[in-house]
């Protein structure tokens, strides 16, 4: 059951304001996640205040520090169902949950944060997890 758009609009805007591109259709998802080069972060957004309410600020904080993915995109679970289902097809063995965060490098999932790793945690804690992953996978290779 989708929530009224006016209720989720602020949650969509919170993502786009931090630079994420919102994907609402299957062709948009395929255009971003098919044949990837470099690093792409996919944030599966959710209305759940318990978890997504902490995950969005966590991502914003992580993106403000150090290296970051080449691209940040988002799909909204429970709202844009076809786009979400398509994005999850790219997640390989990782099971669906929302919110969740997948980091791709050259088309392969290299880091995944499930809902259970977000629930009950302070945004700073989730941000640290992301910053560590960005350091590992998004920092330019040293010569």
């Amino acid at each position: 059951m989708a929530y009224p758009e006016m209720m989720v609009k602020p949650m969509r805007e919170e993502m786009t304001q931090m630079g994420a591109r919102e994907l609402t259709s299957v062709p948009e998802v395929d255009a971003e996640l098919g044949d990837q080069q470099g690093t792409t972060l996919v944030f599966v957004n959710s209305v759940c205040g318990c978890a997504a309410g902490g995950a969005r600020p966590a991502l914003r904080a992580a993106l403000e520090k150090g290296p970051k993915p080449d691209k940040v995109v988002t799909v909204f679970a429970g709202q844009d169902t076809e786009a979400v289902a398509r994005a999850r097809q790219y997640f390989a063995d990782y099971q669906p949950s929302s919110p969740s965060i997948a980091l791709f490098k050259d088309g392969e999932v290299v880091h995944f944060i499930h809902r259970h790793q977000i629930e009950g945690k302070a945004p700073q804690e989730v941000a640290r997890n992301l910053v560590d992953a960005f350091q590992k996978y998004c920092a330019p290779a040293s010569v």
């Binding site: 929530y3 602020p10 949650m11 919170e14 209305v47 759940c48 205040g49 318990c50 978890a51 309410g53 902490g54 969005r56 600020p57 063995d93 990782y94 099971q95 669906p96 949950s97 969740s100 995944f112 499930h114 809902r115 259970h116 790793q117 629930e119 009950g120 945690k121 945004p123």
Partner: protein
């Protein structure tokens, strides 16, 4: 908007992914919803049955890495089946 909660007033575990150890030997992993008169309601539930041969430790390790493989959308566990309820995150 961050921190906005659509479901205030629920139990502490509401919305949290939990591991329920069953007296039957089964283990259930799912999102805790609430305690009802007929039992505890979980959503998007994966079940480990020792009869499959996979150890519970392996099942939980795989669940931690890849997420909950939900086999049932909703499960109500009667009180007599529940031995223990813990957050999945505690197994990290």
């Amino acid at each position: 908007m961050s921190g906005h909660v659509f479901h205030p007033g629920h139990e502490e575990l509401h919305g949290i992914t939990v591991v329920v150890t069953g007296r039957s030997g089964r283990t259930y992993v799912g999102r805790y919803h609430e305690r009802t008169p007929t039992g505890t309601l979980l959503h998007d539930v994966g079940v480990h049955d020792p009869a499959t041969g996979q150890s519970r430790a392996d099942y939980l390790a795989r669940t931690l890495k890849f997420g909950v493989r939900a086999e049932q959308k909703h499960v109500v566990l009667p009180d007599e089946e529940i031995d223990e309820i813990r957050k999945l995150a505690e197994f990290e």
